[in-house]
């Protein structure tokens, strides 16, 4: 005891303060080394637990067991709080669980830290889109397009833009969608499925010209691509290029006999081609025959339309009277003698079809074709 006290008195003596501090330094070093050892054990364990829980979470996420994945990623984050990958996975699991608000909170934090992260930005865009926040969704989609992506940057950028286009088409923003499609077209490889998909999107955006060009590119690589053939046929049909449409649609139906839409569109195309007397490169006899046929179809339309029975209301032209007046002269013989009558007969036919389309209910294939011909010639 006395020795110990003497030792302590030694420390108390101010002359020995340097020694005291040296001893304290030594002690601090020893303790630091000891804590460093403990720290390694601690951090190693934390890391192992994080990896273990994350691996389980990834597996559950793959199996779409979102509830379990949420718990596992939460546990992983407990041991590696700032791991962005775990946070992103947790957000995805939460989205799977339809816990959008919570997922959004994680994603927005990730985005704060890494605004250039494509995955995060795209998820935020999806959430904004699902919430109907159009401006925000568009901002995030655009950010995603120009973000940094792991792996194939070009492909991910393309996918993001395609998703944006789908979103724009979904909300009816066709002009914006068309602008994005043109930007996409410039960077798209000439692979058949991609070009066919692009053509389909152009079709949805109402840009038939670009659609046809895209389908043609697709067909350059694979002439028998049924989707591209059907798309090209539709695009040509929508542009009023019925001869081209007939060609593509015939091939489409031949390539995919189950394609009911193409078959129906082909039937309409063939009817149009059979009723249009203004088609170039047809003989005068054919033209007259088509005129008679079209005029006759308009007469059928009048007869089957209940709204046209009796006197027409004030201000409405008496189409029945006009048709009856012209009928005796619209024959193949009459038209041959007076070729100018073709225009009058077809004008009345178009009038009848256009006006009756609003009053007289369902149209026949011929009526439909005559409406398309009327539209085509009005445009030209």
């Amino acid at each position: 005891m006395a020795t110990g006290s003497k030792g302590l008195d030694f420390l108390r003596d101010r002359r020995h303060e340097p020694v005291t501090l040296a001893l304290l330094t030594l002690l601090a070093i020893v303790m630091t080394l000891a804590v460093t050892g403990l720290s390694r054990i601690y951090h190693g364990q934390q890391e192992a637990l994080a990896v273990r829980w994350s691996a389980r979470g990834v597996e559950d996420l793959k199996q779409q067991r979102f509830g379990a994945a949420v718990g596992e990623f939460r546990a992983a984050l407990r041991y590696a709080r700032d791991n962005d990958s775990y946070q992103l996975n947790l957000a995805e699991a939460l989205l799977g669980e339809r816990k959008t608000d919570e997922a959004y909170a994680y994603l927005i934090n990730l985005w704060d830290r890494e605004p250039e992260n494509g995955l995060v930005t795209l998820e935020l865009a999806r959430i904004a889109a699902s919430r109907g926040q159009t401006t925000r969704a568009l901002r995030f989609y655009h950010n995603a397009i120009y973000a940094i992506w792991p792996g194939n940057q070009e492909e991910e950028t393309r996918k993001s833009r395609l998703e944006l286009i789908d979103y724009l088409l979904g909300i009816g923003a066709k002009a914006q969608a068309q602008a994005e499609l043109i930007a996409l077209e410039a960077n798209l490889p000439e692979e058949s499925p991609l070009q066919a998909h692009l053509g389909g999107l152009f079709l949805k955006a109402g840009d038939n010209e670009h659609a046809l060009a895209a389908f043609r590119l697709a067909l350059r690589e694979d002439r028998h691509d049924a989707v591209a053939l059907a798309g090209a046929g539709t695009a040509a049909f929508e542009q009023g290029r019925y001869l081209a449409a007939e060609r593509y649609l015939k091939e489409a139906v031949a390539a995919a006999p189950d394609d009911v839409d193409s078959a129906a569109r082909l039937a309409t195309t063939e009817t149009v081609l059979g009723l249009d007397p203004f088609r170039p490169q047809i003989s005068a006899a054919t033209r007259d025959r088509m005129t008679v046929k079209a005029f006759s179809a308009a007469g059928d339309r009048i007869r089957t339309c209940p709204a046209l029975s009796g006197q027409p209301p004030h201000g409405r032209p008496d189409l029945v009277q006009q048709w009856n007046n012209l009928k005796p002269r619209v024959t193949e013989y009459g038209l041959r003698r007076n070729p100018d009558l073709v225009n009058s007969a077809m004008q009345l036919t178009f009038n009848i079809e256009q006006q009756t389309s609003g009053w007289c209910g369902a149209v026949t294939e011929a009526d439909n074709a005559l409406l398309l011909i009327a539209k085509l010639h009005e445009e030209h």
């Binding site: 637990l49 407990r78 709080r81």
Partner: protein, 576 residues
């Protein structure tokens, strides 16, 4: 070049250099750094221990089995009770008051065993899910280590008294990763006054402990801080509502502790063995019923609340359950701190109020993260009653100055409400329940002190100038009842003349001489009306009549004082 012309540094010998370094005050500063390092290391180990206890007792996942939720705290409670009763009886409580007691009662002495007990029992309690935090125990562990070092080095009694707060600041700073808040808290709640002598040591120890802690655990704060901002001044109304709710919650929490703790302690002694276990079982039940977030310190859930990951209704439930769980944990005598639960309740309450306000008044309220952060400060101000620390803590933790207005508004409101409804601060309540009479820091802060102006009276008697002859003074003394006269001598100052002095001058034949040449004493040092009345005590012993002068013109007399008047004022103080 001679020795005299050499620069100072060149004249220093190794011995004089060492002497210069190891002056006592400097040695204490260096010692503070070591205290910080040792406290930091201890707190790092404490954090490891809590985490290991949690992993091995509750499991490493977040979805805990109900059986574990019930059994872990219950069984841990039994062990804690036995150890706290038989081995570490000093380890109970939060640790703040024990450190204060060391400062004010035990001359800085805290047994080292207390640190060991605090370390083991708190780690076990927090790790097994008791709703307690590691900050107050860290504070006490730091104080214990500092006290042990001080004893080993046989420091003077004065230094020993100061060393416990130095260690306390180091422990708290490392636990909270916030050195400024730790220093402020120790100054505000433990020491109670700002003195230059202690401030340097406290700051050094806090900074060095935080450096050590960050070395091992990283510099990230306890929770990720969201983007916090105040967009419109109208949001202050919403924050005021938070202050109001927080103030009321603080009062409820504080009253709960104040009422339940003595009742638990008055129960039969054998129940002390089971109180922590029963509390643990009830906390386990709360967790098993769907609120496991209330277990432990809960920093990760504060983080989630700040990032809007709970609905405002669930946040309100969590705040309520956390109050219950913390009350159970604390009043059952389980060792652990109140800081983390207070912050948890504040964060949940803040985010809840923010969420509700956002649903009702979307244009008047900010993000839930900001509310959670402000809510922490609100509870800190309302429950722990450390208003300055509460403001700086939020600023330090968030690193964002832009929320200072909401923080000040909400914290002040909560503090005022708490102060009004619960006059005694929680630490003072706990101290008194423990049978100690420590100075109340809150009362000290708000203590009225007497000033010179409170005791002085207007100068009514005759006033002499330095140019007046001694005869005039003798005449005035002879005519009136005045035993003492004041003499103004420009520019020297003020003098007082007693009857005896005047009579002596007259007897010496100096009656015709001006007073300024006859006076041989030093002038009376100037005394101003705003100075503490204590100052006068240094004067009245030497000068029976003390002049009080104007600060802008020291030749202008604003009042006079005598010893009798000073004592009378002290006698009446507190009676009016």
């Amino acid at each position: 070049m001679t020795a005299g012309t050499l620069p100072i540094w060149a004249r220093l010998t190794p011995v004089s250099l060492l002497r210069s370094i190891f002056r006592e005050d400097r040695f204490f500063l260096i010692l503070s750094v070591f205290i910080g390092i040792f406290s930091g290391l201890a707190v790092v180990c404490f954090r490891f221990s809590i985490e290991w206890c949690r992993i091995y007792l509750l499991g490493s996942g977040v979805s805990l089995s109900p059986m574990r939720l019930l059994l872990a705290p219950t069984l841990a409670g039994l062990v804690i009770a036995v150890l706290a009763i038989h081995v570490f009886p000093e380890a109970r409580g939060s640790g703040v008051n024990q450190t204060k007691a060391a400062l004010y009662i035990f001359n800085g002495y805290i047994p080292f065993k207390t640190a060991v007990g605090k370390f083991i029992l708190s780690a076990l309690a927090i790790g097994s899910g008791y709703s307690l935090g590691p900050e107050d125990p860290s504070l006490q562990i730091g104080a214990c280590l500092a006290s042990a070092i001080g004893r080993r080095l046989r420091l003077s009694r004065e230094r020993m008294r100061l060393i416990a707060p130095v260690g306390a600041a180091a422990g708290l700073a490392a636990a909270f990763n916030a050195p400024i808040s730790a220093v402020l808290f120790v100054i505000e709640e433990v020491i109670g006054r700002w003195t230059a002598g202690i401030l340097g040591s406290v700051v050094l120890s806090a900074v060095s402990s935080v450096v050590v802690m960050r070395w091992f655990l990283g510099s990230e704060s306890l929770f990720r801080i969201p983007v916090v901002e105040m967009r419109r001044p109208s949001e202050l109304i919403a924050y005021s509502i938070l202050g109001l709710v927080g103030g009321l919650a603080s009062v409820a929490f504080s009253m709960g502790v104040g009422v339940l703790r003595p009742r638990f302690r008055q129960m039969a002694p054998w129940t002390q063995y089971f109180q922590p276990a029963v509390a643990g079982l009830l906390i386990g039940c709360i967790a098993a019923l769907g609120a496991p977030q209330v277990m432990g310190a809960g920093y990760e859930f504060m983080d989630q609340a700040m990032h809007g990951q709970f609905t405002w209704q669930f946040l309100a439930i969590l705040a309520l359950f956390k109050i219950v769980a913390t009350l159970l944990s604390f009043v059952s005598g389980t060792p652990g701190g109140m800081f983390a639960p207070t912050l948890f309740i504040g964060a949940m309450l803040g985010a809840s109020v923010g969420g509700a306000e956002h649903a009702l008044l979307p244009h008047m309220s900010g993000s839930p993260g900001t509310y959670a952060l402000v809510g922490m400060g609100v509870l800190f101000a309302g429950f722990l009653r450390a208003p300055m620390t509460s403001v700086f803590m939020v600023l330090e933790v968030s690193g964002n100055y832009s929320i200072i207005l909401p923080v000040i508004v909400a914290n002040t409101l909560a503090y005022v409400i708490s102060r009004t409804l619960q006059p005694t601060a929680i630490f003072d309540t706990l101290t008194r329940q423990d049978g100690l009479e420590l100075p109340s820091m809150e009362e000290l802060r708000e203590e009225n002190i007497l000033h010179v102006e409170d005791a002085m009276r207007p100068p009514k008697g005759p006033l002499l100038e330095g140019s007046d002859p001694v005869e005039k003074a003798a005449r005035l003394i002879a005519q009136g009842p005045h035993g003492i006269l004041l003499v103004r001598v420009e520019p020297a100052g003020w003098y007082s003349l007693t009857r005896e002095a005047i009579e002596a001058l007259t007897a010496e034949g100096k009656g015709a001489e001006p007073l300024e040449s006859a006076l041989t004493d030093e002038p009376i040092p100037p005394l101003y009306p705003d100075q503490p009345l204590d100052m006068v005590l240094r004067y009245v012993d030497r000068w029976p009549l003390v002049p009080v002068v104007h600060r802008a013109n020291q030749m202008k007399l604003v009042g006079v004082l005598t010893a009798r008047e000073v004592l009378a004022r002290y006698r009446n103080f507190g009676e009016e």
